[in-house]
C-alpha cells in the first residue's frame, strides 16, 4: 500500500479502576490506518471496541484511564510545532498524541479528530436545538482559526466569565451568525430536508435516522482528517442503517477522511472497510485486508464470527454460534494465556502457557499459534477442560 500512515496505535492499554477491581478493557491494541483508508474494528459486545475508540480520542472518563501505549498521528504542522519542545513525541511527520499535554490533545478534537457516537438520541443535548449544537462545533473551529493560541489555553479562550457575560448580554453569544449558517449548510449536505427549519428544532423532534445524519453533520463541522465512527448505525432501523452507511461512504469518498469504523456487524464491515481488525477481550486478535480476513480467517474466533453470519443465498445449514461468552475483563480473573482458549474448538496446551503474539509487520496476522503451525491434535486440550 503506497499511502502513508495517518494513524498508528501501538500497545494501547486502558484500565477501569472500579470497586469490583481493575478491568482491562483495552489490553495492548495495535493497528495502523493509512491516509484515506477505512479501517474496521469488529467484535462482540464487551470486547473493548468502543473503549479503544474513546482511548484514541482521549475521551476516557474516570474511573477509566489510558495507562500505556502510543497514538501516532500524521500532522506535519503539529510535528513542526511540537518537535522542539518534546522531541521524543515526534517521528518524522508523525506525532505521539499520548506524549502531548491535555490541552494540545483537546485542541485536536473536532479539528483533526471527529466522532460519531452510537446512540444519536442521547448524544445530543435534549434541551438545545440541533442547529445550535452543530453550530457550536463550527464555532469552536472558527475561533480556533481566528486565534490559534486560545485553543491551547486552559479555558480555550472561553472561561466562566465569558460565559456569564454572553449569557447576561442579549447582544452577545458564543455562536456567531456565520457558524449558524454553516450548520444549516452541513444539515443540507447530509440530506436533511428543510435544513433551515430543522436547525431550530430539538433532538426529540428528529427521527433516529435524521438525528444520526445531524450527528454526521456535526462531525464534519471542523473538517476533520480522521473520523472515528463508533457503531454509527447500531441504534437505527435496518432500512435507515443502509441509508446512513451510504451517506457515510459517500462523504468519506468525497472528503478522503481517514476513518476508523467500529461495529459488531460484519455486514457493515464488508460494505465499508478496506482493512479490518477483529477484537476479542481487549485485544486485536486478527488483522488484515477485508479479503484476507473474510476469505481466509486464521484465528478460530474470526472463523467463528464469520461462521455465524446467516447466508441468504446459500445452503440452509444451521448457523454455528461460538459457544460461551466474552470473558470478564477483570484483571484478577485474567490469566496469562490466550483469552479465547476456553471457547476455542482448537485449543492446545501451548495456548495456556503463553499468550500467542503477532508476527510483526505482517499485513495479515493473527494472535494465534495456528498462524504459525497447523492444529496439533496430540497437544489438544481434553474436552471439558475448563468446566472444572
Amino acid at each position: 500500500m503506497a499511502r502513508e500512515t495517518k494513524l498508528r496505535v501501538e500497545g494501547l492499554k486502558t484500565r477501569f479502576f472500579t470497586e469490583e477491581g481493575q478491568v482491562n478493557a483495552v489490553e495492548g491494541v495495535s493497528f495502523e490506518v493509512a491516509e484515506g483508508e477505512v479501517f474496521g474494528i469488529v467484535g462482540e459486545s464487551g470486547s473493548g471496541k468502543s473503549v479503544t475508540a474513546l482511548s484514541v480520542m482521549d475521551l476516557v472518563d474516570a474511573p477509566g484511564r489510558v495507562v500505556d501505549g502510543e497514538v501516532w498521528f500524521r500532522s506535519p504542522a503539529l510535528a513542526d510545532r511540537v518537535g522542539e519542545e518534546i522531541p521524543e513525541a515526534v517521528d518524522g511527520e508523525l506525532v505521539d498524541l499520548r506524549r502531548l499535554d491535555a490541552r494540545e490533545r483537546r485542541a485536536l478534537r473536532g479539528a483533526e479528530f471527529s466522532t460519531i457516537f452510537q446512540d444519536p438520541m442521547s448524544s445530543f443535548n435534549p434541551s438545545i436545538t440541533v442547529g445550535e449544537q452543530i453550530a457550536e462545533a463550527v464555532e469552536v473551529q472558527r475561533r480556533a482559526r481566528a486565534n490559534p493560541r486560545s485553543v491551547r489555553s486552559r479555558t480555550q479562550g472561553y472561561g466562566l466569565s465569558s460565559f456569564v457575560v454572553d449569557s447576561l448580554l442579549p447582544t452577545r453569544e458564543y455562536v456567531h451568525r456565520p457558524s449558524r449558517d454553516r450548520a444549516i449548510e452541513l444539515l443540507e449536505l447530509v440530506g436533511i430536508p428543510d435544513p433551515a427549519e430543522r436547525a431550530g428544532e430539538y433532538p426529540h423532534q428528529f427521527s433516529g435516522g435524521m438525528l444520526q445524519r445531524a450527528m454526521i453533520a456535526q462531525a464534519l463541522a471542523g473538517e476533520p482528517s480522521v473520523l472515528v465512527a463508533d457503531e454509527p448505525t447500531t441504534a437505527l432501523d435496518v432500512t435507515i442503517q443502509a441509508q446512513v452507511l451510504d451517506l457515510l461512504a459517500e462523504l468519506q469518498a468525497e472528503t478522503g477522511m481517514t476513518t476508523v469504523l467500529i461495529t459488531h456487524n460484519l455486514g457493515v464491515i464488508a460494505r465499508m472497510c478496506d482493512r479490518v481488525g477483529v477484537m476479542y477481550a481487549g485485544e486485536i486478535v486478527e488483522r488484515g485486508t477485508l479479503e484476507d480476513v473474510f476469505d481466509e480467517p486464521v484465528h478460530p474466533y474470526t472463523q467463528g464470527l464469520i461462521g455465524s453470519i446467516p447466508d441468504l443465498e446459500g445452503s440452509h445449514q444451521r448457523l454455528e454460534p461460538i459457544p460461551g461468552n466474552v470473558p470478564s475483563l477483570l484483571d484478577a480473573e485474567m490469566d496469562d494465556r490466550c483469552y479465547f482458549a476456553d471457547r476455542c474448538p482448537k485449543a492446545m496446551h501451548e495456548c495456556l502457557e503463553k499468550p500467542p503474539d503477532f508476527a510483526v509487520d505482517d499485513l495479515h496476522a493473527a494472535k494465534c499459534y495456528l498462524a504459525r503451525h497447523d492444529y496439533d491434535e496430540a497437544d489438544a486440550l481434553p474436552e471439558g477442560y475448563f468446566d472444572a
Binding site: 485536536l108 471527529s114 448524544s123 434541551s127 438545545i128 479555558t155 472561561g159 426529540h204 456535526q218
Partner: protein, 328 residues
C-alpha cells in the same frame, strides 16, 4: 404548542386550584364546633343580640348562599373583617406579606448563590478535599434545626459580637425607598442588616439541600453521552459545564426551589418567632389561637395564591430549560 398557550393553560389550572382552596377553607368552618358569634360577643350577650349579629354577618342564610357570597367577596379580594379587631383582614395580611416575601426571597437567594457554585465545584472535584468539605457542609446544614441555628446566631453574632440586630423588623422597604430618595442611605444598611441573620437561619437547610441536589444532578448529567459528544467536538469546558450540563441539572433544582419558596410563604413560623419577624407565619399561628376565623381563612387563601403563582413561575422556567415540557 407555543409558550403562550402553555402559560395560559397553567394560569387557568391555577385559577381552579385557588377556587379549590377557597372552597375548602369555606367549608372548613362548618367542621369546627361552636357558633362563630360565641367568640365575637361577650358570654352574657342575649339571644336577640346574637341573632342580629348572625343576620349582619349573613350567617342566617342557607349554606349555598353563604358560599356564593363568600366566593364573590374573595373574587373582589375582600377577606372580611377580623373577628377580633374588626379591621379588614386584607389590610392585616398586607402589613405582614412584605416581611414574609422579603425573608423568603432573601433565604432563597442565600441558598442559590451559595449552593449552586458549591455543588458545581463539588461535582467537578469529586472525591477531592473541596468535595468532602462541601459534602460535610451539606450534611451539617441539613441536620441543623432552623430555630437552633437562629438562636446560636443571635447569641454569638448579635449579642456577643454586637454585630447585626437581635431581631425585629424596624425598617420596611417603603421606608428605605423614601429615605434613599431623601438622601439617607443608612436605612438601606439597616434594612439589609436586619435581614441577614434570619435569612441565614432560614436558608441554611435549603442551601445544604440544593448543594446536594446540584452535586448529584451534575454527576448524573456528566455521565451522559452528550457530554462526551460535546468534548469530542472540542467545546470549551466552560460551555460543556455551564451551557450544557448545569442547565440540564437546574430542572430538578427549580422544582425544589419552587416548593421551598412556597413553604416559606406559608410561614417560616419558628424562624419568625425566634427573630420576632412580623411575617405571615407567626400571624397565622396567633390568629389560630385567637380563633379569628376570617383572618385564618384569608391568610390560608393568600398562601394558596402564593403557592399557585410560584408553581406557574416554576412551570414557565421548566419550559425555558427543557423544550420538551411545552410539547407534552
Amino acid at each position: 404548542m407555543g409558550f403562550g398557550k402553555f402559560l395560559a393553560r397553567r394560569i387557568l389550572q391555577g385559577v381552579f386550584v385557588v377556587w379549590g382552596v377557597v372552597t375548602v377553607v369555606f367549608f372548613l368552618r362548618f367542621l369546627t364546633p361552636g357558633d362563630p358569634t360565641a367568640t365575637l360577643l361577650p358570654p352574657d350577650a342575649g339571644e336577640a343580640v346574637r341573632q342580629r349579629l348572625r343576620e349582619q354577618l349573613g350567617l342566617d342564610q342557607p349554606v349555598h348562599i353563604q358560599y356564593i357570597d363568600y366566593l364573590t367577596d374573595i373574587a373582589m379580594l375582600d377577606f372580611g373583617l377580623s373577628m377580633r379587631e374588626g379591621r379588614p383582614v386584607g389590610e392585616l395580611i398586607l402589613v405582614r406579606l412584605p416581611a414574609t416575601l422579603e425573608l423568603a426571597i432573601a433565604a432563597t437567594i442565600v441558598a442559590v448563590v451559595i449552593a449552586i457554585p458549591l455543588g458545581v465545584i463539588s461535582a467537578r472535584r469529586r472525591h477531592e478535599p473541596a468535595d468532602h468539605g462541601a459534602t460535610l457542609f451539606s450534611l451539617v446544614g441539613i441536620s441543623t434545626p432552623n430555630f437552633w441555628l437562629g438562636i446560636v446566631l443571635i447569641m454569638f453574632i448579635a449579642v456577643r459580637v454586637g454585630f447585626l440586630p437581635v431581631g425585629g423588623r424596624s425598617v420596611n422597604l417603603t421606608q428605605v425607598v423614601t429615605m434613599l430618595a431623601d438622601g439617607q442611605p443608612q436605612y438601606l444598611g439597616r434594612w439589609l442588616g436586619q435581614l441577614i441573620l434570619p435569612s441565614i437561619a432560614l436558608g441554611t437547610y435549603f442551601t445544604a439541600l440544593i448543594t446536594r441536589l446540584t452535586r448529584s444532578g451534575m454527576l448524573e448529567e456528566l455521565g451522559k453521552a452528550y457530554v462526551k459528544a460535546c468534548r469530542a467536538k472540542g467545546l470549551p469546558e466552560a460551555l460543556v459545564l455551564y451551557k450544557h450540563v448545569l442547565r440540564n441539572t437546574l430542572i430538578p433544582i427549580v422544582t425544589v426551589l419552587g416548593l421551598q419558596l412556597g413553604t416559606l410563604i406559608g410561614g417560616a413560623v419558628i424562624t419568625e418567632e425566634v427573630f420576632a419577624w412580623p411575617g405571615l407565619g407567626s400571624f397565622l399561628i396567633r390568629r389560630i389561637t385567637l380563633r379569628d376565623w376570617t383572618a385564618i381563612q384569608g391568610t390560608i387563601i393568600v398562601i394558596g395564591i402564593g403557592f399557585v403563582i410560584i408553581n406557574i413561575l416554576v412551570d414557565s422556567t421548566y419550559a425555558y430549560l427543557d423544550p420538551r415540557v411545552v410539547d407534552e
